[in-house]
C-alpha cells in the first residue's frame, strides 16, 4: 500500500463514518415514527424512505446534483452562505448519507418494534415523559438492532459509487473514495494497484457486516 492508497482508505472511512453519524438522529426519528405512530400517508413515507435502496444510485445522484448543484434550490442557498457542496467532500458525505439512510431506518424500525410496548407504558405510569422514555427504555432495549443497522449503513456508505461520482466527481486527494479509486485505476490499466484496494475493501466490508450480523443476532434473542 502506497501513501496515496492510505490517503484514499483513510478518507473513505472518515467520510463514511461522518455520513453514518449524520443520519443517526434523523434515521432514528423516522424509524421510531414508523414503528410507533400511525398517520394517514404513512405508506408514502415508508416508500420514500426505501426509494434510494431500489433506485439506481446514479438516478439518486442526479436528483442530488439538481438539488445541491450551484443552480439548484439548496445549492444556491448554501452558495450564498459560502458553502460549496458539489465536487467537494461534503458531496461525498451527502451521497453516502442518502444512500445508506434506508438501511439504518429499516433495521432501527425493526429494533424499535421489538421493544415491548408494555415496558414503555410502565415507564409512562412511572412518570417518564416521551423523551426520557425513548432514551432510557426504547433506545437501550433496541440498541443492538440500532448498532447493527448503523454498521450496515456504514458498510453501504463505504461502497457508494453511482451517486458519489455524479455529485462529488472523482477528484484525487479530495473526493476520491475507495470505489472511485478502484474504478479509476482499472481505467488507467493499473490493475495490481486496483487489486490492492479491492482486497482492502473486502476486508473492511467483511469485518463491518460480520460485526453488524453479530449485533443483529444478539438483538433477536430475548
Amino acid at each position: 500500500m502506497t501513501a496515496g492508497d492510505w490517503q484514499v482508505v483513510g478518507f473513505t472511512i472518515r467520510v463514511a463514518a461522518l455520513a453514518t453519524l449524520l443520519i443517526l438522529p434523523p434515521g432514528l426519528l423516522v424509524a421510531w415514527c414508523l414503528a410507533r405512530l400511525h398517520w394517514p400517508g404513512k405508506s408514502v413515507v415508508e416508500t420514500l424512505v426505501a426509494l434510494p435502496l431500489v433506485m439506481p444510485p446514479v438516478a439518486t445522484g442526479l436528483i442530488l446534483l439538481k438539488a445541491v448543484g450551484r443552480r439548484g434550490p439548496i445549492g444556491r442557498l448554501l452558495g450564498e452562505l459560502g458553502i460549496d457542496v458539489v465536487f467537494t467532500w461534503r458531496a461525498v458525505v451527502l451521497a453516502m448519507a442518502v444512500m445508506s439512510f434506508p438501511l439504518l431506518v429499516r433495521t432501527a424500525r425493526v429494533a424499535f418494534e421489538g421493544v415491548p410496548v408494555r415496558l414503555e407504558q410502565m415507564a409512562r405510569t412511572l412518570g417518564a415523559g416521551e423523551v426520557r422514555l425513548f432514551f432510557t427504555v426504547t433506545l437501550p432495549l433496541a440498541s443492538r438492532g440500532v448498532l447493527g443497522g448503523l454498521l450496515l449503513s456504514f458498510a453501504r456508505a463505504l461502497g457508494e459509487f453511482g451517486a458519489t461520482i455524479l455529485v462529488a466527481g472523482n477528484i484525487p486527494g479530495r473526493t476520491t473514495t475507495l470505489s472511485l479509486a478502484i474504478y479509476q485505476l482499472v481505467q488507467l490499466g493499473r490493475d495490481d494497484q486496483a487489486y490492492r484496494l479491492m482486497a482492502f475493501t473486502v476486508v473492511i466490508a467483511f469485518a463491518t457486516v460480520w460485526w453488524s450480523e453479530w449485533f443483529l443476532r444478539r438483538a433477536r434473542r430475548p
Partner: protein
C-alpha cells in the same frame, strides 16, 4: 428438390444483392468528442450503404481498455495517438488500417450566464475561479491535452486544486453547462454544440498541444471488410465536410 433449389437461389440473392439486404452491423468505439459529427455521418452512411454503425462513445482511455479486455469492437476512433499505440503494441489493430484523420483545438468555456472576465488562459489562476472541469488528466485525451497546455503556460500547479476531473470531455462540458463549475477546458467542437456555454478563450493552434485523432480497424473485428469500408467512408469528402462543419480540422487536407 424444388424447395432446395429455391433455398439456394434465396441464399445467392442474399449474398449478391447490394444495399440493406446484406447490411452489416458495425460496432464503432469512438471518442466522446466525436459524438455529434459521427452520429450525422453514420446516419448518412447507413442511408448510402445499409450498414448500421452502433456507436459506443466514451473516453478513449476507457474504450481502449475495453478493447484490451476483449470488447467486440470493429473500429476504434481515438482522440489521441497514445491510446492507439497501446493497442498497436498489443497487436490489437488490423495492420495497415491506422490513419490519423482529424485534429481539434482547445477552448476555455464558462457558463453562458457567467460574469467572469477571462481574456487569456492564465486567468484560470485568478481567485474568482473555484472549480475548473476537465476530462480526467491522467488518462483521458482531452484532459491530457488540457494539462499539457496548462503546464506549458505555467499555471498547472496553481490550478490543480481547482480541477474537477470528469469521466470524459463531454462530462466536463456538462459540468460547465450546469453551472456547477466556473470554467472548463474542452475541445472547440464540444463548445460548438452547446448553447449553454460560451467560449471565453480559444487556444491558438501554435500554442496548444498537438491534437490528433487516429482511426483504425480492430484486429478482432468479425466484419473487417465492412469495417474497412466505413473507415474509408470516414475519410471521404462527404464525411470530412461534416467533421469540418462541427469544427474539426482535417489532417493533411
Amino acid at each position: 428438390m424444388r424447395r432446395r433449389a429455391l433455398l439456394t437461389r434465396l441464399l445467392l440473392v442474399t449474398v449478391l444483392l447490394p444495399g440493406p439486404v446484406r447490411a452489416a452491423e458495425l460496432s464503432v468505439f469512438a471518442a466522446a468528442s466525436l459524438a455529434d459529427a459521427l452520429g450525422e455521418i453514420a446516419a448518412a452512411y447507413e442511408r448510402e450503404s445499409g450498414d448500421h454503425a452502433v456507436l459506443n462513445l466514451g473516453a478513449s482511455s476507457a474504450l481502449a481498455r475495453q478493447i484490451q479486455e476483449g470488447a467486440p469492437a470493429d473500429l476504434f476512433l481515438s482522440a489521441d495517438e497514445e491510446k492507439m499505440n497501446a493497442l498497436e503494441k498489443r497487436k490489437l489493430l488490423l495492420p495497415g488500417t491506422r490513419k490519423s484523420v482529424l485534429s481539434n483545438t482547445l477552448v476555455i468555456v464558462v457558463p453562458d450566464d457567467s460574469r467572469l472576465k477571462i481574456t487569456g488562459a492564465k486567468d484560470l489562476a485568478s481567485p474568482g475561479i473555484r472549480a475548473i472541469a476537465l476530462a480526467e488528466p491522467q488518462s483521458v485525451p482531452a484532459g491530457i491535452y488540457a494539462k499539457e497546455y496548462l503546464k506549458k503556460i505555467g499555471i498547472w500547479s496553481k490550478v490543480i486544486d481547482r480541477v474537477v476531473p470528469t469521466e470524459n470531455v463531454r462530462a466536463a462540458l456538462a459540468a460547465v453547462e450546469s453551472g456547477n463549475v466556473d470554467a472548463g477546458v474542452v475541445y472547440k467542437t464540444d463548445a460548438g454544440i452547446s448553447k449553454r456555454v460560451k467560449i471565453a478563450y480559444e487556444v491558438p493552434r501554435a500554442e496548444g498541444p498537438v491534437i490528433s485523432y487516429p482511426f483504425a480497424v480492430v484486429a478482432g473485428s468479425a466484419r473487417p471488410e465492412a469495417a474497412r469500408r466505413f473507415l474509408e467512408y470516414l475519410q471521404s469528402p462527404a464525411a470530412l465536410a461534416v467533421f469540418r462543419k462541427y469544427g474539426f480540422l482535417v489532417l493533411g487536407g
